[in-house]
Symmetry: C2
Subunit: 141 residues, 2 copies
């Protein structure tokens, strides 16, 4: 049994064909996918998959930290799988490929400084970086 299946099972949720299909799709994608895209690819694994289920499954995955929503400048319909422990997304503006990184330490300094300056008690943060991945840099030259 895979890791995510244990997490859901432990919370009383069931492992179903649609959920496995959606996880499969997310796991095989290097770029964030919209619910619509997930549906299209997911049909290959589960013919009767419906868009409604994709929405509900993404919500579930997000609730358990298995996937996270990626907000792009044009919209906010992308979802990517979330590696445990890692928190931030780095997106390539050319090809859309996304990787994750941690870099927690540096952020902690910043967060502490902002907290001290503003009086806010800071509970969470959300960082995304945008750039050009090594592969796309090569194409340019």
């Amino acid at each position: 049994m895979e890791d995510w299946e244990q997490i859901l099972t432990a919370a009383g949720h069931r492992i179903t064909a649609p959920r496995q299909a959606i996880m499969q799709v997310l796991a095989q994608s290097e770029t964030p996918l919209s619910p619509q895209e997930i549906l299209e690819r997911g049909l290959a694994y589960h013919v009767r998959l419906g868009l409604v289920t994709v929405y509900r499954t993404l919500e579930l995955f997000e609730e358990f930290g298995l996937a996270c929503r990626v907000h792009l400048a044009e919209g906010c319909h992308g979802y990517v799988l979330r590696q445990p422990g890692h928190r931030h997304v780095l997106l390539c503006q050319e090809c859309g490929r996304s990787i994750e990184f941690s870099g927690q330490d540096d952020l902690d300094t910043l967060v502490a400084r902002v907290a001290a300056r503003t009086g806010y008690r800071i509970a969470d943060h959300w960082l995304q970086l945008f750039g050009v991945c090594p592969a796309c840099q090569e194409i340019e030259t």
Copy 2:
């Protein structure tokens, strides 16, 4: 003539009642507002204001860096006025109030480190902090 009016005028855009109404609404709000909310409040300043115009105006404001889109966990429909120079948003999870901060230096370190580690050429970043503002902390006690 206000600053934003000069910016738009210089680019050949006109200062209209709807635009003034929307700017007024944004300026007076401490929390991010959705197009729908902007419409509702904007009607107080310009009775014939329409939702379509709100969308088009926000797009225009964003293009000129006058407003920016704020992405919240629940959705991504909020807009706030953007103070020049500042880049990041800090949101109160209790009351929704948002302030901006810069904190560029700390981020530069992080960005440089991530760039070195991943090989990405990082062009832009996007940081939002979430927490509890001083006022809401007092209410708790």
